[in-house]
């Protein structure tokens, strides 16, 4: 079985490891780096619980090989908080009750984070479209939309 030395930057920190060809990115993050905030919810690329940013774009890490990420930038939920301060997305989900069981939340937040990078002032429809690759079974999405709107406003105020 082929092994590969890979070098990635995760949440700003360079990480190195030797991995099998077949190791999925999500297992690299969870089992090798022990960053367990990224979850697994399905096997067929439907649920988005495993969403992380690969070179700034949200992707489903259960359908990417760890070797494919070699030399690239990764950002996970653990990278949202900066110097002990919650990111507005995290605040929004807390303030607006945008989560219940918390399982889909990291993926949801990473997708929302990427949306706001590109679209600082999204409409409700734009938010719903953006998160349509992430399944939530608890919230009915209403408060997730509010959470993203909250974060958007907060980020706009920042600038």
């Amino acid at each position: 079985m082929a092994r590969h030395q890979i070098r990635v930057t995760v949440n700003g920190t360079p990480r190195e490891a030797e991995v099998d060809s077949r190791l999925l990115l999500v297992h690299f993050l969870r089992d090798v780096l022990r960053l367990t905030g990224t979850h697994v919810g399905c096997d067929t690329t439907h649920c988005g619980a495993c969403t992380v940013l690969l070179d700034g774009l949200p992707v489903k890490s259960c359908t990417v090989l760890a070797v494919q990420a070699n030399g690239r930038e990764l950002m996970t939920v653990e990278g949202l908080e900066q110097d002990g301060k919650l990111h507005p997305i995290q605040e929004g989900f807390w303030e607006q009750h945008g989560l219940q069981c918390g399982y889909c939340t990291p993926g949801m937040m990473m997708t929302s984070y990427a949306l706001l990078q590109r679209t600082p002032n999204p409409t409700e429809l734009e938010i719903r479209q953006a998160i349509s690759g992430n399944l939530c079974r608890c919230t009915g999405y209403v408060n997730i939309v509010k959470a993203v709107e909250y974060a958007a406003e907060k980020l706009r105020k920042r600038e």
């Binding site: 082929a2 067929t44 774009l57 070797v67």
Partner: protein, 291 residues
């Protein structure tokens, strides 16, 4: 779910990639976006011994208009196509299509070339590209060859691509003025394959009659369906409701869908008709507004 073991290759150039494919032939698969291939491997149904990742080969992702042709790099991600100014401004049918493929996260990895080369009649680009009269470029050991998309699909999951060929570019002739296109898809929910979908690209004569019509259907048989009769019928006609209805009826006749959880054969054929009608109306509107 966990994929079986395989060897992973990340060539830095096209020739290297082709060389690897030529060496491993049927034991190798091209890894582009991986959004169809990796799930298949996770389910342990695909067990290719070698994956040739073309993700590190520069110059395979672009969307540009040059010498009357729209050129889309084979490894262009759907999200890039979706956001490209060229597409948003001048190619509504492609904008329609890119926006309904899988979901936004999948589109950040899935590629236009992969969507075609996979040979899946349920994928959305084949119908669109057939309607547009596109051609694809296959690059292999003997260099490159151009293939009309209409001749590209030979059967379920089979295309004319040789095991050592890579789909490197899609070429679409820029339509003349008074052209317009639309893609209409019925899906059970976001991310689903089409229950039925119809791609229509029209060019109108100054008088308003149809000069050229391209119509194709998604998931309407083992290969993408080109609705040749409907196209022929429309040519030279004005697009009144009756004509649109008849063209849609002819298009649906060309469909030979199979029943599954998405619907019965009867329903799918009917939806091909309804969606073709809707795509025709939208395409006509857009044609009047320019391209």
């Amino acid at each position: 779910m966990f994929p079986p073991s395989f060897d992973y290759h990340a060539p830095g150039t096209l020739p290297e990639a082709v060389e690897l494919l030529a060496r491993h032939r049927d034991d190798a698969k091209v890894l582009a976006g991986g959004q169809s291939l990796l799930p298949l491997m996770k389910l342990r149904l695909g067990q290719p011994a070698h994956l040739v990742d073309i993700g590190r080969i520069p110059g395979l992702e672009y969307v540009e208009e040059k010498d009357g042709v729209l050129r889309i790099g084979g490894r262009t991600r759907e999200a890039v196509l979706e956001r490209s100014e060229v597409i948003r401004s001048g190619w509504p049918i492609l904008a329609d299509t890119a926006a309904v493929i899988a979901d936004p996260l999948v589109r950040n990895l899935a590629t236009v070339g992969g969507n075609l080369a996979h040979g899946d009649p349920a994928n959305d680009h084949p119908a669109t590209m057939i309607a547009l009269g596109a051609r694809v470029v296959a690059t292999g050991p003997k260099g490159s060859r151009e293939i009309p998309v209409a001749d590209f699909f030979t059967g379920l999951f089979s295309t004319v691509l040789e095991p050592d060929e890579i789909l490197t570019e899609i070429r679409v002739p820029i339509p003349p003025p008074r052209s317009g296109g639309a893609y209409r898809k019925l899906e059970r929910k976001v991310g689903d394959f089409a229950t039925a979908a119809s791609a229509v690209q029209l060019t109108l004569a100054p008088g308003g009659e149809v000069e050229r019509a391209g119509i194709a259907l998604t998931n309407a048989g083992p290969v993408p369906v080109k609705a040749t009769e409907a196209e022929r019928y429309l040519t030279g006609k004005r697009l009144d409701p009756a004509t649109i209805a008849e063209a849609a009826r002819l298009a649906a006749q060309a469909a030979s869908p199979t029943a599954d959880r998405r619907g019965t054969v009867e329903y799918k054929r009917e939806m091909a008709r309804v969606l073709t009608m809707r795509a025709l109306r939208a395409a006509a509107e857009r044609a009047k507004g320019g391209r």
